[in-house]
Symmetry: C2
Subunit: 478 residues, 2 copies
């Protein structure tokens, strides 16, 4: 047993004892329903057999479940909409799955303070739509915006396309209500704009992937409704010229609200999926948007600068649109990468691994060179990439024949080589998808022995029995 | 002994053993020099007698000092420029003072990535000036900007006037190099724009006031050089109308880069100190600036909206200036509150307590009402306030006769009542000055028992011997 694992439970606990403390019907023992709740969208991440599923509808359900798990020393795995890509909520044998997806109320929009308080199960896009009625925005927009929950976004510190200007989920969290390992409910963080009273424990819970407690309420900062952006697109013969455009453009003081990248293979995949009007035949493409922080003049200046910089860096074509429909179509094309790659994978044997490394953006060009070398080494698989270029956050997609053991093995190796490239270039193994089980072993390679020790010590301090999500992201730390 | 304290040391350690491991002359045992380094600027915060002062010039000096302290189980108190206001770096009996003020090099400005890496002792303003040569800005601007260090700013998560738009120190830290309790040096956080590999330990160190380790290197995010702002001023008959202006203005989507408040007593104090051209006779004043995120048009719109909202809320006078010298003069007047209040205090017996509470900005009006009640209760002392109105972060100044025990007692009571008002209104006992020893007892009132337990457990996990700054902010937690 590792220092972050859970002692073996002795015998099966009596689930009736738990059911008696929960809202009626919150406890589910139907094997099919449990199975349907036992995994997220990650490949190559083991899925165990859970004892039960609790569909919590209130904080008390969460508390009762945590106390039951603590009493019987059994693992508990908090989850939201299960849209993760790293297996972080996959079932463990003998565990209780604790879903907060049904706790999905928007509790308060405070227009005086510019905050919103929600239950963890509210869908990100539903929150955005609700806030729009108040002329407010909540910028974080992970690719899963239409299907993932705010609680899950907080637990994984989700990112998205807005991050280049507006930051990640972490930057918008004011405070959290969490249920701790002893079943207590407490507030971490604060509801004020500033505050330095003690450690910022909210920051510690953000991105902790269910290993420290269960998030049962979230208070977020909102911003005034964002202006509609203008859009420009530049095409390049190869990824390296696109990378140089990114650094030159941002280095000259631009503040785009979106700066996305697709390579030639990704453009082809999207074109084959649906007609968004994307040009074909390019080696790489950048999509840039600017909302000018509300100033159309500033937005136009931002895009003119982009066009200039792209041309200086050998762009083969630069397009500009002030038609909002064109802009929407381009962003829709970028958002379609996920289903487009799925379709492509389907035609090539069904295997797809979505990687997620982040490098300092000044090293993107080197990263693309490494990616090309990896693709060359494994001609039987495809390695194509899109990503949040302005943040240096790339999503290389490894597409392989899942029925062919050699192809599958090559895909796994390529996936690992991509992570290694991220580390070699001063980056990280995950920019926004999280560690889960998929990258747990890699986390131990990224962190120094001293940082690993701190992780284990903090886990031990806040969850001494190790009931929260054992065997996940911390499981390889020394 | 509390769980966060240090076991009693047995006998005096041999300082020669430490000196032998340090850069020559880094160890100082001269009593006068030690005394000069033994306190910050807080009142009513005990100052003990330190064993020695280490003026570290490199990471190895810090490591050697920490290892020596760990071996002999003696307290170690990291410090920067000692400009704090809460006694957080005050000497304890038998402690070693560890100053990193001499580690003041700017190590790298990375214009590709928009980051800067510095040693902890660099002065905030020196960093700003250096970055200006690269057309970059580092927004955080605590009142102490000209004299405080970046390391100290990180250790206390310093704020300032920019926060209403640009956030606090926390929002700009990418990664830290820290020396941990076992003398290891490790990096926490990361140098990429995004990243979710493991707990964000950098966030835990930010604002931990020297209780978890010693910050020996800081990598900060920079932003493109900020545009010069436009300025407007509104006068009101009383603070409550000013508060309503703040909430209405921000509620209508404005994004000022500065939104400061001074009450009538503070204006008088500043006028008596120096002629900045401040109007006299008003009950409250708001100073607002907008940089329009680089758009002059947007800045003008922001200020026009402010003037409109101020008039709607009964402003007695509204002024606008597009002359940069006038703007600078107004901000200089706001920055002069500290020396002006010192002068005022000098004329009234020398006592001055600077409080620092933060409330949700929607409750500022109630806070001003509470402040008026407190002032009324103690007519022998003065309670006047300035603050960062846009953040709800107020600095009521309690001015009293330090030679008069009754006046002194009243000042302490008023100070406490101000903190209590902050808590009662859903706020915090400190928005930016920190807890130190001055507010340690109040921290225990602000935090729930469960949050207190988490603080103690984390402290124990990362500093099991309790060598870092014992007897400070955590000392009243259960």
């Amino acid at each position: 047993m590792s220092s972050t694992g859970l002692p073996d439970s002795t015998g099966l606990p009596d689930l009736n004892e738990l059911a008696a403390q929960l809202t009626p019907n919150a406890l589910v023992t139907d094997a099919d329903v449990i199975a349907a709740h036992s995994s997220d969208r990650a490949l190559f991440s083991p899925v165990g057999s859970a004892l039960a599923l609790v569909r919590a509808t209130c904080v008390e359900d969460v508390q009762a479940t945590v106390r039951f798990a603590a009493k019987h020393a059994i693992p508990i795995i908090p989850s939201g909409a299960r849209t993760g890509l790293s297996g972080g909520i996959n079932a463990l044998d003998g565990s209780i799955l604790l879903s907060v997806a049904k706790m999905d109320r928007i509790l308060e929009v405070n227009t005086l303070d510019g905050t919103v308080t929600v239950e963890p199960g509210v869908i990100n896009l539903d929150l955005k739509n609700h806030l729009a009625e108040f002329n407010l925005s909540y910028p974080p927009d992970p690719g899963s915006v239409a299907i993932s929950t705010v609680g899950g976004n907080v637990a994984t510190n989700a990112g998205g396309m807005c991050c280049v200007k507006y930051g990640v989920t972490r930057d918008f969290v004011r405070s959290l209500k969490v249920v701790t390992a002893d079943g207590e409910v407490t507030t971490v963080g604060r509801n004020t704009a500033k505050g330095v009273a003690g450690f910022d424990l909210a920051q510690l819970f953000i991105g902790s992937e269910g290993t420290l407690g269960v998030i049962v309420e979230v208070t977020l900062r909102t911003v005034p409704k964002l202006a509609d952006p203008l859009t420009s697109v530049a095409l390049f013969s190869d990824p390296v010229h696109a990378a140089r455009t990114v650094t030159d453009y941002l280095g000259r003081g631009a503040t785009p609200s979106l700066l996305e990248y697709m390579d030639g293979g990704t453009i082809e995949a999207v074109n084959a999926y649906q007609n968004f009007g994307l040009p074909s035949g390019a080696g790489a493409m950048l999509i840039v948007q600017s909302d000018g922080s509300g100033s159309m003049t500033r937005a136009q200046e931002d895009l003119e600068l982009f066009q200039q910089v792209a041309q200086d860096n050998g762009a083969t074509d630069v397009m500009y649109s002030d038609d909002p429909r064109d802009s929407e179509s381009l962003v829709a094309a970028r958002r379609a990468v996920a289903p487009a790659n799925e379709k492509l994978a389907h035609s090539r044997g069904g295997g797809e691994l979505v990687d997620d490394v982040c490098v300092p953006r000044g090293r993107l060009a080197e990263f693309f060179e490494r990616q090309a070398q990896i693709a060359q080494k494994f001609p039987d698989i495809l390695v194509i990439a899109c990503g949040h270029a302005g943040d240096g956050n790339m999503h290389p997609n490894v597409i392989f024949d899942a029925g062919d053991p050699v192809s599958t093995q090559h895909a796994k190796e390529a996936f690992g080589m991509i992570m290694q490239a991220g580390l070699d270039l001063g980056g990280t193994i995950t920019g926004e998808h999280g560690v889960g089980v998929l990258k747990a072993e890699w986390l131990a390679r990224e962190l120094s022995p001293s940082a690993q020790k701190m992780h284990v010590a903090i886990k031990q301090a806040l969850d001494p029995q190790g009931i929260f999500s054992p065997g996940k992201m911390l499981s390889y730390l020394g």
